[in-house]
Symmetry: C2
Subunit: 329 residues, 2 copies
């Protein structure tokens, strides 16, 4: 295991310290308990809080800032954060309009966010993200997993909150986006959790894991290595079967790197993706290519489609200023 | 070799097609000969053109757009582009103020850009980037290699050109920035050039290559794996010995991922970097952390320091809108 680290026990602490120092214009790191919050809070705005196990950066800490999250609660690598982090974050970033928790569907995350939701004195609601169409239940999940669709929910609801919507509107918008968003990933290699010091799963030199989870959970099948067009086709077929986009639907396409795959390959995968969509007469309205929801250094990628409407397009295009996504400002 | 690709011969073509489609608001892809150019050219502005072997994305194509490059000429993976690409790009993007070629110091790149410079009918000048302090001469280089410092030169000179400076001023500014910029990298793993189908170099599970080049060229030494603080210290010592920053110098720090290293580790390496600098009383004026000059899927990173002055700070902060760097717009 070769990683930039000093002692394995300090990995998260030092990584977060570097993150907070690099982006001290945007975020503040709270250390006991650990959460990252927006430096400048906006009075009367619904506060958005997400979180989850670390190792998926820039998700979620990298999306704290103007137009997205007000706080992110990082757990240890691939380990749920705890309710005390969420409650402390909620108390700190609530400015009177309540808190929306944005939670990827993993049993630990959900349990802890629900506990925080019940125990917190701050009025709150929750959006559960379960965009991964690969499998119904998985290693750490009852129901579908939440993956890169989280980025889209955080961007769109973040924009709506910024524009003055109330907690109920933000919650309803988040639920609507989640229903219109579907993802599936593929892994070429495993990753290594620092504390485990060993590969999360074994995979042959000529094998891929189709439908892999972002913690290396098994997907739909272990397959022989295949061309990009075939991989894109398999992922998109599964996504489209779930999403059933109308013929005139306008899609946001997110080609997401899992951490160890370089940008040149992601653009190639996007090329396969757009060709597949164009052959079926489906319209691409917005595109995002990059490593936004990662699995440490795993080689692989996921494709996410989101069926846009005019309101969603407006909120996608609006200004955002976070370490991980930035435009318009 | 597992990569998102269809046929190895089509790798670059399909990757560039995906890139151009994803960023059709910003760039246009010319196919014969191959170059990427800004969609909207600015009449009377000095045009900036860079290029080099592919496999370092987002460098250089990802920096075509407002406030950086007007065109990028991508060669095949780790292979110099040809003079016809550069001459065609120059003819296309020149709007009357001439062209500045920004060239990383590799023998093939330099020879071909010099040929294009001589043969082009467009008035032109050249800035040669040689920021890598690791070794004096290398596999493909006489003198020092040009690496991630290219991003800084392209951003700062791009801003100056945008503000109306003439060709001579842009050339002088580029040379000045290059002299004030130094980099060094470290590799944990090799990468695989698609057409070669085999690892560029062999490295043990407990070894690192200190001072590696961005094509996997040998560095200063093959060392045993070491903590991030020790690696940062070795790179920074070499950089600081070269750069000799004054006690009151203000530094731009770029922690650059080589392609296979996840963001969480890059932030940890930045934490080691800032600690080292702070212990020596050196001031960090600006920070950039991310994979901007990569070596395909190589795991590793480089550190670049650039000694800022007020003019450079202003041009770093100015608006930029490219696929790879964007702020202020």
């Amino acid at each position: 295991m070769k990683k930039f680290m000093n002692h394995v026990d300090d990995f998260l602490t030092e990584s977060l310290a570097g993150f907070a120092a690099a982006h001290s214009d945007l975020v503040v790191l709270n250390t006991e308990p650990v959460f990252v919050r927006r430096k400048v809070l906006k009075p009367g705005k619904v506060a958005l809080i997400s979180g989850g196990g670390s190792g998926h950066e820039p998700l979620h800490s990298g999306f704290v800032g103007y137009g997205m999250l007000d706080a992110a609660c990082p757990g240890q690598i691939f380990t749920s954060p705890t309710p005390d982090q969420m409650m402390a974050a909620a108390k700190t970033v609530d400015t009177g309009a309540g808190v929306l928790f944005i939670v990827k569907n993993y049993s630990g995350d959900l349990m802890n966010f629900e506990m925080a939701s019940e125990m917190s004195e701050v009025p709150n609601a929750m959006v559960l993200i379960n965009d991964d169409v690969a499998v119904e239940n998985s290693s750490y999940t009852t129901g579908r997993r939440g993956v890169a669709g989280a980025v889209i929910v955080e961007k769109l609801v973040g924009s709506m909150a910024e524009s003055g919507a109330d907690l109920e509107q933000c919650k309803a918008f988040g639920d609507r986006i989640n229903k219109r968003t579907a993802s599936m990933g593929v892994a070429f290699t495993s990753c290594t959790v620092p504390a485990a010091r060993t590969l999360t799963f074994k995979i042959g030199d000529d094998e891929i894991e189709v439908g892999v989870g972002i913690h290396g959970e098994p997907g739909r099948r272990r397959a022989k290595f295949a061309p990009a067009d075939a991989i894109a086709g398999e992922l998109l077929t599964a996504i489209a079967e779930d999403l059933k986009p109308a013929a005139d639907a306008e899609l946001l396409v997110l080609v997401n790197g899992l951490g160890g795959t370089p940008l040149g390959e992601l653009y190639l995968l996007f090329n396969s993706t757009r060709t597949w969509l164009e052959q079926r007469g489906l319209n691409i309205g917005r595109v995002q290519v990059g490593a936004l929801t990662t699995s440490l250094e795993m080689a692989g990628a996921s494709i996410t489609l989101c069926v846009l409407d005019d309101e969603m397009k407006r909120h996608w295009d609006s200004a955002v200023h976070t370490p991980g996504l930035r435009w318009g400002v």
